[in-house]
Symmetry: C2
Subunit: 260 residues, 2 copies
């Protein structure tokens, strides 16, 4: 149990990175922000993370008081991991990263699935009150069997696991990619319904309005600085906002590969 490699720097940023700066650590926290999960669920949400590293990160996060291991049962002797209070306080960090990262380029090989929790957290992080305006809606969401409740009111969005007592709209999608395309790739709701992989009910007009409250992420242009003697020009990184669509290179992946 060798001591973890730490920044010897009293700066708060360095101290934070001492706790969550190791590779995968913040993604593990991301998988837990919506509630406790078992080891295998964590592994499902982060399939590219090797298991020994996952186990090690969990031990470190537990030692630092960000994650708590709880044993359920005895009927079903399953262990779950959940964020402590201290761990939940990382949400502003995740939110800031997700907001910034939503304008970062996608990795080239779009082979990876988007985990359900990752997608839902992206909604939390990229909700734009200006786009919401006066919209008010209680929506019940089902993504591949995971149920979430969304509440929009007063320019604010709440999003948690659970059930609304009296939803005004329902949206059921078979997998995360379907919702991803609806929200971030501008896929039309009625198209998804016609392909029969999506179900809607209730106030579909306001539901469609809700889906438009999340500004689509765009690739920002490469640091092409073709050498003008422009010492401090504001221009070069302007993310060419005149391309409101053209997001995911393959919006056709939506319908397929229903999991067993």
């Amino acid at each position: 149990m060798s001591k973890k490699r730490l920044f010897d720097d009293p700066c708060g940023i360095a101290r934070a990175l001492n706790a969550v700066g190791e590779r995968w650590a913040l993604l593990v926290v991301r998988e837990l922000v919506f509630g406790p999960k078992r080891y295998s669920d964590l592994h499902r949400g982060l399939p590219q993370m090797s298991q020994n590293v996952l186990a090690q990160r969990l031990r470190e996060l537990e030692a630092d008081g960000l994650v708590r291991r709880r044993r359920l049962g005895p009927p079903a002797p399953a262990a779950v991991y959940e964020l402590t209070e201290r761990g939940q306080e990382l949400e502003p960090v995740l939110r800031a990263l997700a907001h910034w990262g939503s304008r970062a380029p996608l990795p080239e090989d779009g082979a990876a699935e988007l985990s359900v929790d990752a997608l839902l957290f992206a909604l939390r992080a990229t909700f734009d009150p200006a786009l919401a305006g006066e919209l008010s809606l209680r929506c019940q969401l089902d993504v591949a069997g995971d149920r979430f409740r969304i509440t929009v009111a007063g320019g604010r969005l709440e999003l948690d696991r659970g059930e609304h007592a009296e939803p005004e709209a329902w949206l059921t999608v078979p997998e995360a990619a379907t919702l991803r395309d609806l929200v971030f790739a501008g896929a039309a709701l009625h198209d998804a319904v016609e392909r029969a992989d999506t179900e809607v009910a209730g106030d579909t007009a306001r539901l469609a309005a809700l889906l438009r409250c999340f500004p689509a992420a765009v690739r920002y242009p490469a640091p092409q600085d073709p050498g003008p003697p422009d010492p401090v020009s504001p221009g070069p990184v302007s993310p060419g906002p005149e391309s409101p669509n053209a997001e995911h290179p393959d919006p056709a992946v939506s319908a397929r590969s229903r999991r067993g």
Copy 2:
């Protein structure tokens, strides 16, 4: 120039970490938030970072469009690194991390110096409007020769490199640790002045009030969960001592080692 190790995950958090998740990357950004710096200044602010890693991080940050290398001169052929617009947009991320990390435990061996920019950014991140109340002040700050201007008004704090046209108060400290003790360790202003390592002028009453607007960082308590029958993990990491203050082990290091 082997390709960087990337998360193949379309989640915004993962995409952000692909840009700034490597070790030291965010600390390099921290050193640049207050303005351009030369390579050697960066190295001074991050003495524990080996130079090859610094050069590599700078190349990666430049390739990702977060940092721009600019050549000054020709009279003085010095190169400086500065944040692009995109890089400056990381400030909310740094702020969230610094705020969270200000309540994380200090590394055991407090041997490290706090870089000037790190300390000043900590002020930005931990300023508490509630503690400021109706305080209003323009203060000129000199930390080891680096000059900053602070403006507090309407429960907001601005802090940048530069000079106030008409400051209402002045504070001059010989090194970062002195200001650190004044702000975060509760050192008294008049004591510092009497030790002759600190100079104040102008409205010292409001200056003292300003210094009290930054809640001191404390070690957060161990994951004490005394309630449920938790058979596993007896919580061996409890840092134990309930010393509510006693922050910096050696508040006597303030006066000494003026750099040539």
